[in-house]
């Protein structure tokens, strides 16, 4: 929060701002003090906002041409692709946009894990973020059902059947979700409604996410609090706006590559076959961004426990601020955590890989080991590391390691050894 009171210059501005302080808000957002050592990993918040807006705008346009009916949905998507002016472009942006959204959110989450951004006093920001992530997965799943192809239909069948694992009421819940005795037209129409709703829920949560962020301010690569008043910060505009803008441009190049050069590589060919309730495709896999959790689901041989393990793998993230007992935020000063961090990254990538492979033989074994390690990381390694790890001395301020000439000789030495 900017500390000074803001007064608009013009008379009308003052009149308006006294009644609705929008200009004060705008002033807060432009002057918002930002740590000056933020690196490019911090640009993904802006990139994610761009992704959300892109999905909402392209989604709105697609909804003008799409027909949510089991007999017409598949054809209406092909109609969009072939007949609607620029329909192919808008749909490819929307479909690949989902993947880009998840790519950015995973970078955003792993940045937070590396620099300890989830720790006090930023727990609420983190938990809102996890809720947004859950809603993103729901929206992506619901949206994938709408084209009513084979993967749509069978993906919907498998995911809704996850609820049948709940004892006693499971079957009733599944029938309720379907509005029938199988995935059918009532399922499609309600999925369309919910797919339309969720992005606006996410938008609301994004506002809360940013609001909660602006209370303590940004974390930063050094992970220490900003000293006030100091030269540790720069105003959001123009410094961060320009930096975010440049990163966004780079991101859009990657985005455009997928949209224009290989728009279907992240999808499945089976989804260009219309849904057929009598034939299950030989190999059902979810979209790439859900594969690690799919691998966890399949690695447990019991139906209920498999579902519990998969949900726990996501929900455990919400408890992270309390599972990580270390007071030091940034992994830069945590030599052991830094290694376990990269092992976790590898573990999640391995889970993603085996999630795309058939659940048998060596793949299944690897999935089981990787699943066990995933939980081990959060439930054992992180709490223990907080007590055992000998952390490096942290600098006194953000400016200190940059300007050098530090009174803390050990820090300066460490910095040199890190740079080697």
């Amino acid at each position: 929060m900017s500390d000074h009171e803001y007064t608009p210059k013009s008379k009308f501005g003052k009149w308006f701002n006294d009644r609705l302080p929008l200009l004060t808000l705008a002033n807060h957002l432009t002057d918002y003090p930002t740590p000056k050592n933020l690196n490019y990993w911090w640009t993904f918040g802006g990139i994610l906002t761009f992704c959300l807006i892109t999905q909402i705008v392209t989604g709105l346009v697609l909804a003008m041409h799409y027909i949510a009916h089991a007999d017409m949905a598949f054809d209406s998507v092909e109609h969009i692709m072939r007949d609607v002016n620029y329909g192919w472009l808008i749909r490819y942006i929307h479909a690949n946009g989902a993947s880009m959204f998840f790519l950015a959110v995973y970078i955003h989450i792993f940045r937070s894990l590396f620099y300890g951004s989830y720790k006090a006093p930023r727990e609420i920001i983190w938990i809102i973020g996890i809720i947004i992530y859950l809603l993103m997965m729901a929206a992506a799943f619901l949206g994938y059902v709408l084209p009513w192809g084979q993967m749509s239909f069978w993906g919907a069948t498998v995911i809704t059947n996850l609820f049948s694992a709940i004892p006693l009421v499971g079957e009733g819940i599944v029938t309720w979700l379907w509005g029938g005795y199988s995935v059918d037209n009532p399922t499609l129409t309600r999925f369309f409604t919910l797919h339309y709703l969720i992005p606006f829920l996410i938008l609301g949560l994004v506002v809360l996410h940013i609001w909660a962020l602006h209370v303590p301010g940004n974390n930063n690569p050094v992970g220490i609090d900003i000293k006030k008043p100091s030269k540790d910060t720069v105003p959001f505009h123009p410094y961060i706006v320009i930096k975010d803008g440049f990163a966004l441009l780079m991101f859009m190049i990657v985005f455009a590559f997928f949209v224009f050069y290989t728009p279907n590589i992240l999808g499945h060919a089976d989804n260009y076959i219309e849904a057929n309730p009598l034939v299950t495709p030989a190999h059902i896999v979810p979209e790439w961004y859900l594969l690690p959790f799919y691998a966890i689901l399949r690695s447990v041989p019991d139906k209920l426990l498999g579902v519990v393990a998969m949900l726990s793998a996501i929900l455990i993230l919400a408890a992270l601020p309390w599972l990580d007992t270390s007071k030091i935020r940034s992994a830069v000063f945590r030599p052991l955590y830094r290694q376990f961090y990269w092992i976790l990254v590898a573990d999640v990538l391995i889970l993603g890989y085996v999630g795309a492979m058939p659940a048998e033989g060596l793949y299944l074994l690897v999935a089981r080991v990787a699943t066990a390690y995933y939980f081990l990381h959060f439930l054992v390694i992180l709490p223990v590391l907080g007590w055992k790890e000998k952390t490096l001395p942290i600098p006194l301020s953000i400016t200190e390691p940059i300007l050098g000439g530090s009174p803390n000789l050990a820090t300066a030495k460490n910095k040199e050894s890190l740079n080697k």
């Binding site: 379907w178 005795y181 995935v183 009532p186 059902i284």
Partner: protein
């Protein structure tokens, strides 16, 4: 106000909350129940199938309530195999006699009890069905033998209307 005594106002508060809760519940329930199967879906509850053209060793698949139903005319070998299985070897012990009253005809929901895929006919390690989604193997009685599925494939309510016609549902 010093004494903690139940007075008229406390009673009114409690009564108001109670009536409010009932009102909210009564308002929300239609919003929830509208998602359950509607009258037109329920009306399609039974299907009649002519099975006169099915030869022994063949399976036909028909759609009932949007789900596939396997109707297999089993050979004598298959019946013998299904009936010879030791119940202690089964994850979900059920006698074949209970699953197929008329041993020649096995009528069951072609839906894997794991996560609802359609298993493939005459595949898997037990000469029955194999689910390609997550690798569940079923025997020739549709009983789960290996893999993540918790139970045998379900037997729907059905009856022979005459020698050649099965009514499912």
């Amino acid at each position: 106000m010093s004494e903690k005594k139940t007075n008229r106002r406390d009673f009114l508060f409690t009564a108001t909350y109670a009536v409010g809760a009932v009102g909210v519940g009564a308002t929300i329930w239609p919003m929830i129940d509208q998602m359950n199967p509607d009258a037109s879906v329920k009306a399609l509850a039974s299907t009649e199938v002519d099975v006169s053209a099915v030869n022994p060793g063949k399976t036909i698949t028909v759609l009932w309530r949007g789900k596939p139903v396997f109707i297999r005319r089993r050979t004598q070998d298959e019946i013998a195999e299904a009936r010879s299985v030791n119940l202690e070897d089964l994850k979900h012990p059920e006698k074949d006699e209970d699953r197929a009253a008329n041993p020649e005809w096995l009528v069951m929901l072609g839906v894997c009890t794991h996560l609802g895929c359609v298993p493939l006919d005459q595949k898997g390690e037990y000469n029955g069905w194999f689910c390609p989604c997550h690798g569940s193997h079923y025997d020739i009685s549709g009983r789960i033998r290996k893999g993540p599925a918790p139970t045998n494939m379900e037997i729907p309510k059905y009856e022979f209307v005459n020698a050649n016609t099965i009514k499912i549902g």
